[in-house]
Symmetry: C2
């Protein structure tokens, strides 16, 4: 049960109020692949330049990450430079150097085309459409995006939204795209476009799952004492969600059960929390499924409560 991902690979330079990292492995596809490969095989489509460090390729070779779709082009790998603010929930992008990413067009190898799970990581909506043209109907297609495309490529983004099953957005992105102050109303507008599911990422507060069938689920997050670097948390979230789904069977109708989707969102929160504990993908390098299971139990313990309560009689 392999997972196809198309997205960016970058070399990130990140500064937080407490520490920094220089030219480390970054990009949505890097975070996603590393997280999801803890669960199953990942088929990666992306582009790197001739300066891309071999050690990162060696790392992925040590994991079930298929690199047949990784384009290695003459030129420089995509660079991203950012600085986080004191509260770590906001950041400024200081520099972006597209490099080989500027001329990137995804090519899906024949062996990838029947991947039952597809993650369209955050890249230009035009490129996401090119991917959809090249795949057989996957069982579940999941879309991520960002503010930049909502502002600059709205018609194309709208086209992609209409063609996928599940959309991941932050609360701010829901408000921006739908122009609704209420998340509940904004999500309803999105579901009316044909989506089966919308997942609203709430950062340190967890995530919400909304279904066109009326499903509503609020997944608690794992509280971190210290956030080292939140970069990639949303991509690792997607990796946990699709990674988990790749380990379970859908029903006879080809759809995942709501219970499995709920557990998937919890796995997303778990991977998103782990990735914040170090720079780049570093925390994921040593992470095991046992670590994930332990955090799963911790989240159950901190969020479940006695489901039964009946009103008592009050005397006046």
């Amino acid at each position: 049960m392999s997972i196809l991902v198309v997205g960016s690979i970058a070399l990130d330079t990140v500064e937080t109020p407490f520490a920094g990292a220089d030219e480390v492995l970054g990009g949505a596809a890097s975070y996603f692949s590393t997280a999801a490969s803890l669960y199953n095989q990942v088929n990666l489509v992306a582009v790197i330049g001739s300066d891309f460090p071999q050690e990162h390729l060696d790392f992925w070779h040590s994991r079930p990450v298929n690199l047949a779709g990784l384009q290695n082009q003459d030129g420089k790998t995509f660079r991203w430079v950012a600085r986080y603010h004191m509260d770590m929930n906001s950041r400024d992008t200081l520099d972006t150097q597209l490099g080989v990413y500027a001329g990137f067009h995804p090519v899906i190898p024949a062996e990838y085309r029947r991947s039952p799970l597809l993650f369209l990581a955050n890249i230009q909506p035009e490129l996401q459409l090119e991917v959809l043209e090249q795949v057989d109907k996957p069982r579940l297609t999941v879309l991520d995006t960002m503010e930049l495309w909502i502002m600059t490529a709205r018609p194309q983004l709208t086209e992609v939204i209409k063609r996928v099953d599940m959309l991941l957005m932050s609360e701010e992105e829901v408000r921006q795209y739908t122009n609704q102050a209420s998340i509940v109303r904004g999500v309803r507008q999105l579901l009316n476009m044909g989506l089966k599911f919308v997942v609203v990422k709430q950062g340190s507060y967890g995530a919400l799952l909304f279904g066109a069938d009326g499903t509503y689920f609020s997944a608690p997050s794992h509280p971190l004492e210290e956030v080292v670097d939140p970069t990639g948390a949303g991509d690792a979230f997607a990796g946990g969600l699709l990674g988990y789904l790749s380990t379970v069977d859908p029903g006879p109708d080809g759809c995942y059960s709501i219970d499995d989707l709920k557990r998937g969102v919890v796995h997303g929160n778990i991977l998103g929390s782990f990735v914040c504990e170090d720079f780049s993908i570093d925390r994921l390098r040593t992470l095991t499924l046992d670590d994930i299971a332990e955090r799963y139990r911790a989240i159950v313990a901190c969020s479940h409560f006695d489901p039964n309560w009946w009103p008592i009689k009050v005397s006046n």
Copy 2:
């Protein structure tokens, strides 16, 4: 099992981007008493001026709210005027007229002094200390406060914190008081002051319960499609929490079980969500325990998930 509350009663003028309300019943003690009186008897200590509308007193007379400790003084009732911003999470106070509240000193009637539950609503820490001097040792003392006292009366506030069992604070207040960016670290600092419990209010994201015994619980909120007026949500939260606790028995050691405290926080979120659905205490006027039970079930349904997950074996 009565609940003693000491706090403010006000006449509020509130404007939101969508509507407004003029000189309506407000003040922390009003919200708390109305919410908690759905569960049990509330013993109210506060001050009103000679201009206070009789209809509000009539309303409380129709509920199990004991007004023996309500001081009725010559002069004007406390007034508060505020305007909410577009996102309703922030507001500007436009005017505050203390009126009779300026000379207020709480006097606890003899019949109130053995109330097993005490809520020190948001008033000056000096007045909260005066209350603590007048009560027999309650089973549980719960403290609320606000940014103003953290900034202007920190030593007195610190004195109160050291003398209560449970503190309610927003995330911003935890950061302000402890000077810690991390909520987990800030709460640990607060617990080290001798508190048994800290509840961190997260507005529309719910609330966190931390215990000196290591307890950690994340209570999901009920998603509202439309927030009419968030004024009083924190006070109604406290009303739901103490209201619920007033209906259950503590253990032989006089302490509430962690399971009951968790359910109490859920009841807090429920009352906090209801109060946002209308101006003033208006939604609470018609609210019933059956409505609360229905929302309790809805929160269970949207937050619980399969507690069991074991890692599968991954082939490389």
